[in-house]
């Protein structure tokens, strides 16, 4: 049995999911020992973080462009 993934590993999996690339080794780990809900919540959290990041980028770009 593969060990239970820690938070960092789970975060990496979620980030990998956002780009759509993952190895089957990690996939195996995620599905054999992770809990679906944790991934779902982590995914939602990353999504919110991502939205905030994009907004930050836009504000930065706009202030650089002086608009």
């Amino acid at each position: 049995m593969s060990p239970k993934p820690n938070l960092w590993q789970m975060l990496c999996s979620v980030l990998a999911a956002f780009f759509g690339v993952q190895s089957s080794h990690n996939l195996q780990r995620d599905f054999s020992s992770g809990h679906a809900l944790t991934y779902f919540l982590l995914g939602a959290a990353v999504l919110v973080g991502f939205v905030a990041f994009v907004i930050f980028l836009i504000t930065l770009a706009l202030s650089l462009a002086g608009a």
Binding site: F19, N26, L27, S32, G43, L47, V51, V54, I55, L62
Partner: protein, 528 residues
């Protein structure tokens, strides 16, 4: 082992399918219901196709020849609604009904009675919707996106029936989705772990969650319309402090995930077919699953790219432009993986593979135009033109529809126990492929040249390409009758299919005899 299996065992022993019409009315068998869904969707496809042909006939030449503008608007609206909610979505539900239990080694869907109900709602919903065409003032004429206030204050009186029809098919979709999720999560055969699920099952699982997330939002938005029309509320009416733009935000919050609802199962189908005919395992299975999840998540934060011209502040435009462009990454991953699956394979080109290959190429072209549309400043030129029409028809016709046709050819030997006629299958493919491109490729040109969508008549400079597109539409439309012929021919054929059907197909569905018995996997198979 358990009582469900026992009941199924006894059922299998004591009676097969009931005879006559009651078999279909009362059936709780996933195969029967799948068949019902598929036939229903094919009828809707022909009906919506007739509407498309009447649109193309009117647009064959400049000037009004066949219909009044108001009837033309009803045709475009009904064509869109029927194709989206009546043809593509039920076809995918039908395929899920047939194949998901077979692929995961389950005896049936988890909730068979609800399954029956969710199908039988549909014919009533669509009868109601189509009947509006014969009502006073005509049917819905406000586009399948039904923007307020055109669909509220200015709508024909039949709009109420349209709203109820949308409610009914929404309920049907939600029940169907619940059933799929319950089946996949609870009824997998021992050993069938999540990471062994075939991709069609995976994409359907994610689609089902999307359906549950957004169909209620659609129900919400039509309920708000209903309240605005009949109960004096002002959700979308500026006079009462509402906002017509709010409608577009709520609609597209549903509408964009809806787009993926129509394409994710198609990804799944193609990911089943290509490895079979390339005789090689799917490249990057894990990535495929994750890319699907990624597309599903991202689909919730891109909706306003459908409304770049409504006058959003700069920050909003940029936000939706960036997030939309990002969707290209996981979508690209999928295309690259399919190509990598073919690379160094040992390919043969039976009809399902032909449709799947056409899917990859033409869907990618639709993806490219999608990427162009994501660029907000350029979208100001493309928005609401035939370029958009070309884009979404490229992802929906050679995308979703081709994948469904591919799935039918791929699995029909398992359904009927007979092989279809390969020559006729190829005829169907080539006529469809040529027809689809003649129809939709010129639409890019007229769109870029400045032809708005949803117009019954156009300026002279658009005439030539429109004539070409109309010819293509009739080729494509009539060649779909070949599908009907092929299916019927296959049902009556004497050319028996083997259990495996295809040389190197993998998966539980190829371990049951052809045709698949009325009850399968009453004894769960053991998956290594």
């Amino acid at each position: 082992m358990n009582s469900l299996d026992q009941t199924l065992d006894t059922a299998a022993e004591h009676h097969g399918p009931a005879s006559g019409i009651s078999r279909w009315l009362y059936t709780t068998n996933h195969k029967d219901i799948g068949t019902l869904y598929l036939w229903f969707s094919f009828i809707m496809f022909l009906l919506g196709g007739c509407m498309a042909l009447s649109i193309r006939a009117e647009l064959f030449q400049p000037g009004l020849q066949l219909m009044e503008p108001d009837f033309f608007n009803q045709m475009t609206t009904m064509h869109g609604l029927i194709m989206v909610f009546g043809a593509v979505m039920p076809a995918f539900v039908g395929l899920a009904n047939w194949m998901v239990p077979l692929m995961i080694g389950a005896p049936d869907m988890a909730l068979p009675r609800m399954n029956n109900w969710s199908f039988w709602i549909l014919p009533f919903a669509f009868t109601m919707m189509v009947s509006t065409l014969f009502m006073e003032g005509g049917g819905p004429n406000f586009g399948w996106t039904f923007y307020a206030p055109l669909s509220t204050t200015y709508a024909p009186p039949s709009v109420t029936f349209f709203i109820f029809a949308v409610h009914m098919m929404g309920i049907s979709s939600i029940m169907g989705a619940i059933n799929v999720i319950a089946t996949i999560l609870n009824l997998r055969a021992p050993g069938m772990t999540m990471m062994k699920l075939p991709l069609f099952v995976w994409t359907w699982l994610i689609t089902a969650f999307l359906l549950i997330a957004v169909m209620p939002v659609l129900a919400g938005v039509v309920t708000m319309m209903l309240m605005d029309i009949h109960f004096g509320t002002s959700f979308f009416n500026a006079a009462g402090g509402g906002d017509p733009v709010l409608f577009q935000h709520v609609f597209w919050f549903f509408g964009h995930p809806e787009v993926y609802i129509m394409i994710l199962p198609a990804f799944g189908i193609v990911s089943q077919i290509i490895p079979t005919f390339a005789r090689k395992k799917l490249f990057g299975y894990a990535s495929m699953v994750y890319a699907t999840a990624s597309i599903a998540f991202l689909s919730f934060i891109v909706w306003a790219h459908h409304m770049f011209t409504v006058g959003m502040p700069l920050v909003g435009e940029l936000f939706f432009m960036f997030t939309t462009m990002l969707i290209a990454v996981p979508t690209g991953v999928k295309v690259f993986n399919w190509v990598a699956t073919m690379f160094r394979g040992s390919m043969t080109f039976e009809t399902p593979m032909l449709f799947a290959l056409a899917f990859v190429v033409l869907f990618t072209i639709g993806g490219f135009s999608g990427l162009m549309l994501a660029i907000a400043p350029a979208d100001f030129q493309y928005h609401d033109t035939y370029f958009v029409v070309a884009h979404f028809h490229y992802v929906l016709v050679p995308g979703a529809v081709f994948s469904i046709v591919a799935a039918v050819y791929y699995w029909i030997p398992k359904w009927t126990g007979n092989m279809y006629n390969e020559t006729m299958g190829r005829w169907h493919f080539w006529l469809s492929f040529i027809g689809v491109n003649i129809t939709f490729f010129p639409m890019h040109f007229v769109g870029l040249a400045g032809m708005p969508r949803r117009i019954p008549d156009y300026a002279l400079q658009f005439a030539d390409f429109n004539a070409v597109a109309s010819v293509g539409a009739f080729i494509f439309g009539f060649s779909q009758l070949l599908l009907l012929y092929n299916v019927i021919q296959c049902i009556r054929s004497k050319d028996k299919a083997t259990t495996e059907v295809w040389e190197s197909a993998e998966g539980l569905e190829w371990t049951v005899p052809s045709p698949a018995p009325y009850h399968t996997f009453a004894e769960p198979p053991l998956v290594k």
